[in-house]
Symmetry: D2
Subunit: 313 residues, 4 copies
């Protein structure tokens, strides 16, 4: 049996955003769930889970950060800067300097980001039956990222690499339901409806040492792992690999349509996906549950948004 | 006496980001302050404080959102979309559709954003004495937005429009220390070190009715108001107008260098500024304190970042 | 009777580009026509017919050039520049400076450009019957600007403003076949197959004096004028207004589909359109025929290209 | 003795562009030189010398064209297209389709382009003594590409690969004055003041077969070859390799500052450089002299411009 486009869960505390049927699992962020998430804060420590966004153009700093091959890298430009004043540009009111800039960003595969429900689908229907023909050159008029709203949820870390006693998972590793179940048992931290599940493979650490290896195959969830998470009614799955699911050695999705993680989670269940997180600092704390916040930019009709998620411990 | 570039407050719970002297008032986000902020959550309601980002190019949806005149508007493009498949593009694996896009964004003056400490300065020194010559075409190597880290703080709303009994402040209104003091007294909600002060003028509501008026003068804080907030050791000031301070009728800053709000807060005190927020929904709740989260993208060397701040009530 | 998508003229001296049926009237540039065009050079003078492209972002030079309202203006960024070295950036090999930049350009309505055959159509068919569904997010796989190839042709100037004794045509003026016929007679310069017809309204000179007026209605060819040019088998029509045809006072096309100049020339006859030329310098020379060269960038699947056309007198 | 920033040659037929001292060798394009160039047309054939510009984003056509590693590739986006109408977008006036697009381009190292005089210098002075501090984030106010004006000149092809009897030069080959002299003798085609010298290495043909090899070392002119061309008072040197001079195996310039081709030609002599041309079609014609036209876009303050040069045989 293949997956089908999902139906929206009921109940939402959002008035401003789109209809429930475009918000997917974000509808699980009920007041009770949010209060529960806030209750996970015990230390008041902040851990950022985003990777830096580094402009790819000229200059001494153009060394890069983890990304998939063939993707347009972020471009960052200053339209006026301090060097211009040093070189003689006239200052505002005679003494004030202003620096201004612009950013060009294709987020998928280039930086920490969150996928919109319109990012992927099967056949001609988006999540919850909306027509895929509504995703057009001027943006998606259904299931765009602006419909998601900020995620404020309890985060639960599945540190698979630590669980298996390795610094990072080999590219051949597939994370199934059994491992996730084991981790829950060993930590005694239950996954609750509305939670965000964070899955650490450690793969981003490979990039610094071996860029070519990073851009080949990648470890990730398999279909059983994804289904286990969805069945626990998570709002989102946030991973440090590039595609939540694993990548085959040629960089393509490792699973066919019937087992694809994007289709299963995003399309069929409305579970949001966050990819390319930096989970090393969080893992080092030893904490398994915390308050998780990620607020995608409300890009109207966008297929996703760069985010800088934060864990409040 | 004019303001001088500030020194960093001490104490930080961030290891990952830049030295304290590039983090400004973000250093006030101590574990105690964060715990205090989290303690302000009582209902579990979420209110988004960001404006939508709308691409300015062709298509039926190109009507605009509030922005300053002469600024390059956001551009949003789909590199592949559902319409392409409708028109015959080959699907992945025969049945999977993928939509991908790119965003070009100059945030200042065009959407809800947060300023980096390198955004503005006086003379040849940035905040805390760093040379302005370090702000170059390939980004700022001091005081870039990636140094700020996410803001997780107690938010306190100064709803000036409601306090004065008007839907929005007239463009001639300047918000001084006395009004802020009055609001605190009438609400009984103290401002604590590390808090984010949100100041509502209601000005964004003018845009829909009269775009030309919106782009002329704007109400905002005056120097006494800014100094009052800084003296209360806030981490950030977040306003719904375009420049925290007021704008004169020709759209320029309303105050000279000695009274400029950016210089006073950002440059001299290291207090972060967030501009162009949408505070209408928050104001309607009647809540005055809450958990405030805004996580700027870690754009290396960036002068700011678009953000989608969230209030957790 | 309405226009229908055209068929390609026969004969071409291009091997490299697309099939004849995607090159439209560029097929008229036979070796004989090119030799005839070269024969129009008598003085060896060069006149550029392009407007400058000016970045719209911060900085002292951001005053603008003629453009249509609501269009994204060109953005030009330096990724490294001389000011950076002045401010202390390390030079290449210790002593070499390099400046590098990037350009973001939406050409239609913002600068001197040439339209591809895929830019406009009626119903679901492009020029010569190609399916409009082939014009997709990743470019047009039929009739893109890369198929046109450079235009090297005899140029004939129809200086309508000078002919009518005014510095520029009023926005209400429509240029019909009769005026074009009159101009040919008065100059004694025949229009030959393969020629490029340049039509001067003088309208760009209005911009400096009255920007708002420029962006309202515009003078231009009417259907009879367009048909007269097409019947003379021109390769292209190049105008100094924004849309070859006239614009109504609200800035929209002044003619319905049956009389539309883009449909008549570009779609039905495969005659290329060049818009927003600067013809003032050329007009001042008093020359009516010359060698005309415009070489669009071979943007694969592009709807047009910025060009800097040149007249060789 | 090292090279010094050059002085402008005298005499120009341009009124519109910058002072002579910012036009460099373009001042050699006197009416006599232009008439001589036009006199080289004998057949009326057109050969385009530009490479295609291919967007690097998603979609079936994203295979690439020759470019240097680490450079931001062109990005091309449709803001509205035929697929959108197929998917149900409302047509203009009920029946008219319009396709529109945008291009993001960093030309150096990514496509056929022409360098501005401000692109490279030694010490703190640009060509002809202008301060390098005038090249700022908002563009170069001296020696920008808009000052060059279109090149309309006699082109002379130095087909070094054919002369040496190989399809392309090995990456170790350096082209010196002796080879250029030999080629002139064997063809009997003199180089005249104002000419554009085109130098064919055949290197772009390597890309299709071996992309990695293309991006390593490259054959090119050595200092003696460059000096020989400059001493013949050419307006420009146009090559099919990426940097006119050779590249070492690590992709860096093969010569130190005293022997650097950009410094010698562009900076010291004001000779324009065009790079990454496609000369294969031209070489196949066996013609050695012809009319050459390349019209850079008048990007104000730009360090160069993409061009689609054309040879008229």
């Amino acid at each position: 049996m293949t997956d089908t486009p999902g139906s929206a869960p009921v109940g939402s505390n959002w008035d401003r955003w789109g209809a429930d049927d475009e918000r997917g699992a974000a509808n699980l962020l009920t007041p009770e769930a949010v209060l529960g998430a806030v209750g996970a804060v015990r230390e008041g420590r902040l851990i950022s889970l985003g990777m830096p966004i580094r402009g790819s153009t000229s200059g001494p700093g153009r060394a890069s950060v983890p990304h998939l091959p063939g993707r347009p890298l972020p471009q960052h430009f200053m339209s006026v800067d301090g060097a211009d004043y040093t070189a003689g540009a006239r200052m505002l009111n005679g003494s004030i300097g202003v620096a201004d800039d612009a950013l060009m960003l294709s987020h998928h595969g280039t930086t920490t980001h969150m996928d919109a429900l319109c990012h992927m689908w099967r056949g001609d229907r988006l999540y919850n039956g909306h027509s895929a023909a509504r995703v057009r050159s001027y943006g998606a008029t259904r299931c765009g990222i602006e419909k998601a709203g900020p995620l404020v949820a309890r985060g639960v870390l599945f540190d698979v690499a630590a669980h298996l006693g390795v610094p990072y998972l080999d590219e051949s590793v597939r994370i199934g339901a059994d491992v996730l179940e084991d981790i829950v048992k060993s930590h005694g931290v239950e996954l609750r409806p509305g939670d965000v599940a964070l899955v650490r493979t450690g793969w981003p650490t490979v990039y610094a040492a071996d860029r070519v290896r990073y851009q080949g195959g990648q470890p990730g969830l398999d279909h059983s792992g994804g289904r286990w998470l969805a069945d626990h009614d998570v709002t989102a799955v946030a991973c440090d690999n590039a595609a939540v699911g694993a990548l085959a050695m040629d960089g393509s999705f490792d699973a066919g349509p019937d087992e694809d993680l994007h289709l299963l989670l995003l399309w069929s269940r409305g579970v949001y996906l966050l990819e390319m997180l930096w989970l090393e600092d969080l893992a080092a704390t030893g904490r398994h549950d915390f308050l998780f916040v990620a607020a995608p930019l409300a890009i109207e009709g966008g297929t996703g948004s760069a985010v800088n998620p934060v864990a409040v411990l």
